[in-house]
Symmetry: C3
Subunit: 652 residues, 3 copies
């Protein structure tokens, strides 16, 4: 069976039978329970290296042969993982250099997972074990996908990686003089005379103030990680190029540029762990749902096709300070949210709780009691049934002609900059813009600056701080051709290396937006200014730019010494419109502002006024209504009234 | 004079004449002042190693001969300390390996105290100096006790200790396969192929997620420390086995299993430093007194006989963020509390403030002024007099037939577990149960799971998370035979290695308590649910278990999705009763709940309703009334009314 | 032109043309803009080492020849910096030992600035580059001052420095026995048997409890730093002893005893970065202005002559958590404050924002836009004009006959002491006393204990904790001769090595003040007692001493168990008066108390009642009125009323 030909949603879990090999009764019971729960796929072998290869070069796959055969006979497909995210102790004992060297130049010893140097022997050993796996299972009929490594992260600073970093820099800058110039290294006498003088950044014992170096090291190690994953991909593909590959992405700040990585993957998959019920006092489930939705839209955008929810927790999580039970109906609601936003699967970590290990209390389909007589098991079973009911949605997506730029490189450059205000709140701000569009029930892609702009009517670029060559022109062209573009404060200030442009920002876009930013005032977390926009008063927050403008002033500051100055501008440019927000604002402003922008721009949306806590999303013509509050909510669509109890959903 | 034959309480202090050897007038004045203060014992030599042995193998005890002789002539007995808690600089300079290697594998350099590797040369050097001391003083008539080392703590991670740890593990698990199985090490590919691959845990650079390893390392180093102390004990006993030995315990989390250590000691002694007047806004002196009382009951229980208050501060402490003067009458009150709870002594750190060093401002009997004209000196003198008045109480204890299980191993396993809620508040919770019993004026032993249960009518086991083999049966038998047992949420979940049992908790006790816990909801610090018990509403806090029960439901949850479910249950089993608290609760509930339980169980108590801030304790038939508030309080006992002003006490 | 002969104030900035050498148009534009802004001096070469000496022994100064010549031709003088505060990467690559070894004994790798070992090759390399610079420019007519290094800090713990430290100790204590005695090292068995056993303190891995060692290490490294700067001074002076030298001081806790360093300098200069508008909620601009004023008075006192404001920010800073724009008029106000308090200059960091580097957004005269069309540029230009208008004030100071003792050694000893209360708030308390005098519009010197007391009518010594030999007598003599001396709690407790005196404090001054302190109560931050003074009730804070006194009790505690005891005393002694404050107090008390004291003592002051937020300062007969609030304020002087709008100033 080919993954894309499957008619049904995937429903399944990470499965770790290697922990139960001495318990055949349990392995047998697993099959019975999986069928009962409507599970049709499991992810295998993620942490099984020490079972596969208990001693160097001694391999043991018989147990896996049995497991896979049994699963297949029972109609359960397999996603097989390469085991690179956790190595056996013998490997680090014999080759200590496989362990990651931290920025403080201390090499780790064995423990936890993911802390490896991706440059040396580890890489070779991973290739060997991957090859063994692929040779044996690449053509097994149960296999529908390769799961390459697991939630990869971790940057190494060992001497081998340092040398590779220098080579990478040489490739990029050719001469040390050019690097010095691009790094503005004359500041604080940081001018290098030779490549060998370059050391990766180290906040604790070395360089922490040369931001271009930090930015490049981040790029370098993202490249190293992608190259590593690509080595794994090529290895397994050698044995059957028809099996699609994925890796489970999990965190925008894990050190890997997912937007660059996605080209290497056939399928995007995501581990989604919203803080359901576990947020702070001020966090609602709506807030959690917004962040989950953002990640789903991000994943869907990466390949403009459905993604896979590779991991989620069927009950109580284990990684938060305080871990709450999923309230009744929340499991179904959160599963349906993933589907609404384009997932082709609902998968869990994990099938059965292990008796030991760091995640032994992390919610699983089957608990330590081993029975089906639990709320959790029933919740999972119901999701399984529901997925069968709606299987016609599998493989489809919804309509979308608006986008937010959330560019990995811009994020790294901006978050590394210490001036103005230490905490740039960049993720928060991106979420706020996204939420405002969600509340307008518009569909949104989450794109990088390298993506094709022409498919959109409107693009928002909050704090597009760093502009690499060509991006200004790309924005100009987009607007010229009729696009609506929202730019904000902290945009167009530096180039791709955090080197300031010699102008009032936004660089090379002053004429397009009619804006020149002379100064920026930073506001503390509990501080605010006010703006007046369309007759209403809103809060200005975080950063307030003092701009000179030739554009139409549609919003003004209301207080402080810059009262009366432009805060929100709009300029027709070519066939399009250029909006500029000189400050961060409260949610109400963004809601109202985008309401106007998307209506002018012709952005696709569902024509409903925002109902508090209710998320609405279209997939292949079906409308999902999802109530993230505990109270009853009513939604009016096309003169019909739909009533949802707390945590209810409806698919129209 | 033998310690046990002494008719009077010990009253004395740590005495460090080695700091004043060039000041004979001061040493002479000390004797005069000691007599004036009613001091009859001093602890000598705790930090005197560099004076005893100023260079390797060069010993100097003459000064001590004089001191001890003079003290003895003046009727002051001596507790002589082995000096192992602080080494001379020459030792670490010549043998750097004596210094402790931290978990980050960095070896310390000389400084502070207690940071030593207990496995190598340090151990040999300690034996030598101990032998010198014992040979010279073991039969001196002034000597009434050995004070072995001082407030020992500190775990080493050097290669020698690693190797010893591996040997310890080999002894325990015999085969690496068995260890892997017991550790559930297949999780995250942690399966070891050889003992040599095992490294002690390291949160910063190595293993931090394999909880059985951490638990075993804690056990191992507790064993190393106990073995070290035992070496010291055997060394001094060689020269006179009649002199009792003690070591001053000071902290439940110092790394040593005191419950295991106590077998090696003749006498239990404790360093008591309550935060009198130094707590936070919400902490009262009652709260401080409860914790002090807990430690006293803990010490008394260890050998079921009186303990020694080895250190306390006669005035202002030095170790807190803000150090307050002891308010008038508090010194007497706190001394009497120690006596009420079973101390055979009131001893201080220290006699005379040193002019330099880390503790030069730590309250002492004699200050830098060197006079007797101080509030502190007078307070001490009065305690001395009082101890003489009540000397008939020396050597006695009170009646007690109830216990709380506060097991060192369970504590280490529970506190190491990160899931559900990071902060398990285990100490807090134990104190809360203890306080509820104190407020009911019941006497309580603080026991381990290995102690004899049969002496008790009632045992409470808050969060008995980890059950080693046999404990379930022991509890079952206790109840069967008529005992009343209070078990709570977070009990019976894992075995002694933090490996989850394959059942709904509590393991192997479901039938006894009629309880199966399906799920546990964690509550943030500012969150609460409610329970209804005996018609009143109380708060449910921290953890709320959702249980299935066949027992009598005596309390129910009042809100959230599990409202109406059982929160407090009671089941008659055999001749006894099994109570289960599915959640943590507020103080009022525990007070009321234990009021009922101890009355049903026939627990020994003083028949008085709780008077706020007044502690009441019986010792050998005498009743101590102690008012820890600043306001007047009245207590009615047997139709008599006793009135106590602020910080007053009465002995009936 | 000699610096002292210049008739005008210096107005200028750090100038880093080495960052723009490939941009001749910008260098040309700089000259035009400098003239427009009224800039008459620039500081050059601070971070230019990697440009001066791009490879070891290869020097390149031609660019600097041009820059200096061009500046000079355009009437702009030069302060030339030695480049030792930031080394080129080749230096640390070739000689890793130049990098600083931290207290944890880890040697840094290249990065940031100032992290060097001042004992070895770095010192030699600095001498070489300094010699090159001095040889070439020492007689250039543009050169008016040497700027030695830059904001020096950083203590090294490498083996070379350890050895030097031991030599320094040997020099000081002669025998190890003497050191042991002075260090009271018998405590915790710290007695050394040989110099080689001594290691510098290390909070993380070594000695952290032997306070005399810490104090001596601080002294030692201050000496090393001063000796290093002196080497640089001697090197440049060799080539022209007429050019004055300075170094830009910046922080009282940078590790250097500025009071000792000042002897080596011709001119005192200061980098002033108040948190204008960037304070916490409770901080006003008045508070910021008080701290700035304190530093200015400190600098003026060091040589009893005008100082130079070497660095300040013309607009937004970059080093705070949240960086606010300087509000309109604040730039002029803050510049005038520096002048009022005795500065001979207003200088900025920096002239032009670099495009890269850690401080690329730190406010500069010219921004990334490169134009003169900014609020900041105009603000600077106006300051330039104003400085020309008031040039007759250059070189003058105001009258002053009162002082506060703020002694570097006392600060280090006190802040290192952990007992009583961890946070001694020493800086806060000094500022509070200073502010009280400022509010009385008195002039104040900030002196060390070594300064000449005889020039003052009144001296205040808040928390003069540590008294080295002779200081008690000096205070006694000062009072005897008619001086008014204010001493407080926490005074006269230890000697210069943090060794307690054998008496009730204050040591050797009991008779002078009529005070013996028996005990000290510490108060938490939110706690207070009360005192009654002159019929009013004030707050007692932080520390409350319980004293015995033979002096006149002018203030008493009002609550707690020591209510009624003396809190403020006054004693006539000889021709003078000895005041003792037994506790810290609120601002109102200090204001009222000093009002009385300075009136009795005949302290020079401006005869105006405090007007909130208005600072008044006399310089050479001119009165500066400065309103640090945003609201209008009126000041009455000699029957005239002066009205100042928000952030206004007036010079009378």
């Amino acid at each position: 069976m080919k993954l894309e030909e499957m008619k049904c949603f995937l429903h399944g879990a990470d499965y770790n039978p290697d922990q139960w090999l001495d318990r055949p009764a349990i392995l047998k019971e697993d099959i019975r329970l999986m069928k009962k729960a409507g599970v049709n796929v499991v992810s295998l072998g993620i942490f099984a290296w020490s079972t596969y290869e208990p001693n160097e070069g001694v391999f043991n796959f018989k147990w896996l042969d049995n497991i896979i055969d049994t699963l297949y006979k029972n109609g359960i497909y397999v996603i097989l993982s390469t085991p690179s995210s956790a190595i056996p102790p013998w490997l680090s004992k014999k080759y200590p250099e496989v362990m990651l060297t931290k920025a403080d130049r201390v090499r780790r010893i064995h423990g936890d997972r993911s802390f490896f140097c991706k440059s040396g022997i580890y890489r070779k050993k991973v290739e060997i074990i991957d090859r063994q796996l692929a040779e044996r299972y690449a053509r097994h009929p149960a296999l529908i996908m390769w799961h390459i490594s697991n939630e990869m992260y971790g940057n190494c600073h060992c001497q081998t990686c340092q040398q590779k970093f220098r080579e990478w820099l040489k490739q990029k800058y050719r001469t040390i003089d050019n690097l010095n110039k691009q790094y503005w290294s004359a500041f604080w006498s940081h001018g290098y005379s030779d490549w060998d003088e370059i050391e990766s950044p180290s906040a604790s014992i070395g360089e922490s103030t040369l931001s271009p170096l930090a930015v490049d090291y981040n790029r370098f190690y993202s490249d190293v990680s992608i190259d590593f994953l690509n080595m794994e991909i090529n290895t397994v593909k050698e044995y059957n190029s028809d099996i699609p590959v994925t890796t489970n992405m999990f965190h925008h700040n894990c050190g890997i540029n997912y937007q660059k990585l996605s080209d290497k993957l056939d399928v995007i998959s995501w581990d989604s762990y919203p803080r359901w019920h576990c947020g702070t006092d001020k966090t609602t489930e709506w807030d959690n749902a917004v962040r989950a939705a953002f990640d789903f839209d991000y994943c869907r955008t990466l390949k403009q096709k459905p993604f896979y929810l590779m991991e989620s927790v069927p009950s109580v999580p284990s990684q938060f300070e305080v871990c709450k039970l999923k309230r009744p109906k929340m499991h179904m609601l959160s599963a349906m949210q993933a589907v609404a936003f384009g997932s082709n699967s609902v998968q869990y970590f994990q099938w059965r709780k292990g008796r030991g290990g760091y995640e032994k209390f992390h919610g699983a389909v089957v608990g330590h009691d081993g029975t089906e007589n639990t709320r959790v098991f029933n919740d999972v079973k119901e999701v399984g049934k529901k997925l069968t009911d709606i299987s016609e949605l599998k493989g489809t997506t919804g309509k979308c002609n608006a986008a937010i730029i959330f560019d990995w490189e811009n994020m790294r450059v901006l978050e590394g900059e210490v001036a103005l205000k230490r905490n740039k709140n960049f993720h928060e701000i991106i979420y706020k813009h996204y939420e405002a569009l969600l509340k307008n029930y518009a569909s949104v892609d989450i794109i990088s600056v390298d993506d094709d702009f022409s498919r959109y009517k409107m693009i928002a670029a909050p704090s597009l701080y760093s502009l690499k060559p060509g991006i200004s022109d790309k924005i100009r062209e987009f607007i010229e051709n009729g696009g609506h573009f929202v730019l904000t404060y902290n945009s167009g200030i530096v180039n791709e290396n955090d080197i300031a442009f010699e102008c009032f920002p936004p660089y090379s876009l002053n004429d397009v937006f009619g804006v020149e930013c002379e100064e920026t005032d930073a506001l503390a977390a509990d501080d605010y200014n006010e703006i007046v926009y369309a007759g209403k008063i809103y809060k200005a927050l975080d950063f307030c730019e003092l701009i000179h403008t030739s554009a139409e002033v549609v919003g003004e500051y209301a207080t402080d010494f810059y009262a009366g100055k432009a805060a929100v501008t709009k300029k027709q440019y070519g066939k399009g419109a250029a909006y500029y927000l000189a400050c961060h604002t409260d949610d109400e402003f963004l809601h109202d502002f985008y309401h106007n922008v998307i209506s002018e721009a012709g952005v696709y949306k569902i024509d409903v006024d925002y109902v508090q806590d209710v998320m609405i999303k279209e997939r292949n013509g079906h409308i999902f209504l999802m109530n993230f509050s505990t109270e009853q909510r009513s939604v009016h669509i096309d003169d019909k009234k739909y009533t949802l109890d707390g945590y209810d959903y409806l698919i129209l």
